[in-house]
Subunit: 192 residues, 2 copies
C-alpha cells in the first residue's frame, strides 16, 4: 500500500475530480486522470469510489450542497421576510441559482443534469431536503396548518419547469423570469 | 426521374418512415432504409425531406396530430363539461395521453423526446396549438376575462412536470396521478 493513499480523503479526491472535469470535460475524464492529478495509483481512488459514476455522484453532491443547499439555507433562516413572501423568495432563489449555474458553470451543470437522468434516487434526497425546508417555512409562518409537507412538494412540482435541469434550454428565453412570476402568482391566488 | 417518385406523397414517406423506425429503432434507421421499404431511390425521399432529421420531425408532427391533438380537440369540443372542470379535463387528458404513450409506444415517444430536445422551435408550434385551445376554453367558459392567453400558458407551464417528455422517468412512480391532482387543486384554489 502506498503511503499517499493512507492520508487521501474523499474530499481531496472530489476536489481533484472537479478540477479534472473542468479541464477535460465529463466524457474524457477517467479515474486514472484523477489519480494522476493526486499523484497516486487508481487503486487509491477505488478504495473510496467504485467507479467513475460514483465519482461524478460525489462531485454532484458536493456541488449541490455548496452551490444550492447552502444559499437556500440562508434564505430559510432569513428573518427579514415572512409568510408567503418568504416562501416565494426561497423558491425564486432556487430558480435563480439553477439559471445562473446553467449559464455560467456549464461543465458542472452538465454533470448534475447527467446524474439527475441516471440516478433519480440520488437526486431524490436532495429534493427531500428542499421540500423539508419549504414545509418548515409553511408551518413556521402559519401559511397553512393542513398538510404542510404535501403543499411543499406540490409547490416544488408546479415550479419544476424553472428548476429541473431538463428545462435548461428554456431558461435562455428572456420571458422566463416573467413566466416564473406568472406561475407563482397563480399558485398563490388560484384561477378564480 | 423514376416514375414511382412522381406519385410518391409526403404521407406515404412518413408512413414508411414510421414502419422503419418501429422495425430498426431511431439510431439504425437511414433514409436509404425508408427508400427500400417504398421501393424507390433515396433521391425520391430527398425531394420531400432534406435529411433524416427532417423525416423524424415529419413523423413526430404526424404522431402529435394523430395521437395528442386529435383526442384533445374532442375534449375541447365536448359540451358535457363546463367551467374549470372542462379546463382540468383538457389538461388531464394531455397528461394521460403522454403517460400512456411513454409506456406503451416507446419507440415513437423516444423520437418525440429527441425532436423536443433538438428542435424547440418545432415543438413550440405544437404547444401554441394547445395553449390556444386552453385560452378558448377559458374565454368561452368565462373562467376569467383577464388575459386568458396568459392564464392558458401559465397553466401549461405549471403542469410541465406531468406532460413534458423529459419527465417521463418520473411518470413510472405510482404517486404521479395523485401529484397531478394536488398541483391542479393548488392551481384552482391557490395557497391561501
Amino acid at each position: 500500500m502506498e503511503k499517499t493513499s493512507d492520508v487521501l480523503t474523499k474530499k481531496q479526491i472530489l476536489v481533484a475530480t472537479e478540477e479534472t472535469l473542468r479541464r477535460f470535460g465529463i466524457a474524457k475524464t477517467s479515474v486514472t486522470d484523477v489519480a494522476k492529478v493526486l499523484g497516486v495509483s487508481h487503486g487509491s481512488i477505488y478504495r473510496h469510489f467504485n467507479s467513475k459514476a460514483e465519482l461524478l455522484e460525489g462531485v454532484t453532491e458536493k456541488w449541490l450542497i455548496e452551490k444550492i443547499i447552502a444559499p437556500l439555507s440562508e434564505v430559510y433562516l432569513d428573518s427579514s421576510l415572512t409568510g408567503a413572501a418568504l416562501l416565494k423568495r426561497y423558491i425564486q432563489t432556487l430558480v435563480e441559482l439553477k439559471h445562473y449555474y446553467a449559464r455560467d458553470d456549464e461543465e458542472m451543470f452538465q454533470m448534475y443534469t447527467r446524474v439527475t437522468e441516471q440516478r433519480a434516487d440520488f437526486i431524490e434526497q436532495h429534493i427531500d431536503h428542499i421540500v423539508k425546508q419549504l414545509a418548515d417555512i409553511i408551518t413556521r409562518e402559519g401559511i397553512t396548518s393542513d398538510q404542510p409537507a404535501q403543499l411543499a412538494r406540490t409547490l416544488f412540482h408546479a415550479t419544476a419547469r424553472f428548476h429541473h435541469p431538463a428545462h435548461a434550454y428554456e431558461w435562455k428565453n428572456p420571458k422566463i423570469d416573467q413566466e416564473f412570476s406568472d406561475v407563482w402568482a397563480l399558485l398563490e391566488h388560484g384561477i378564480s
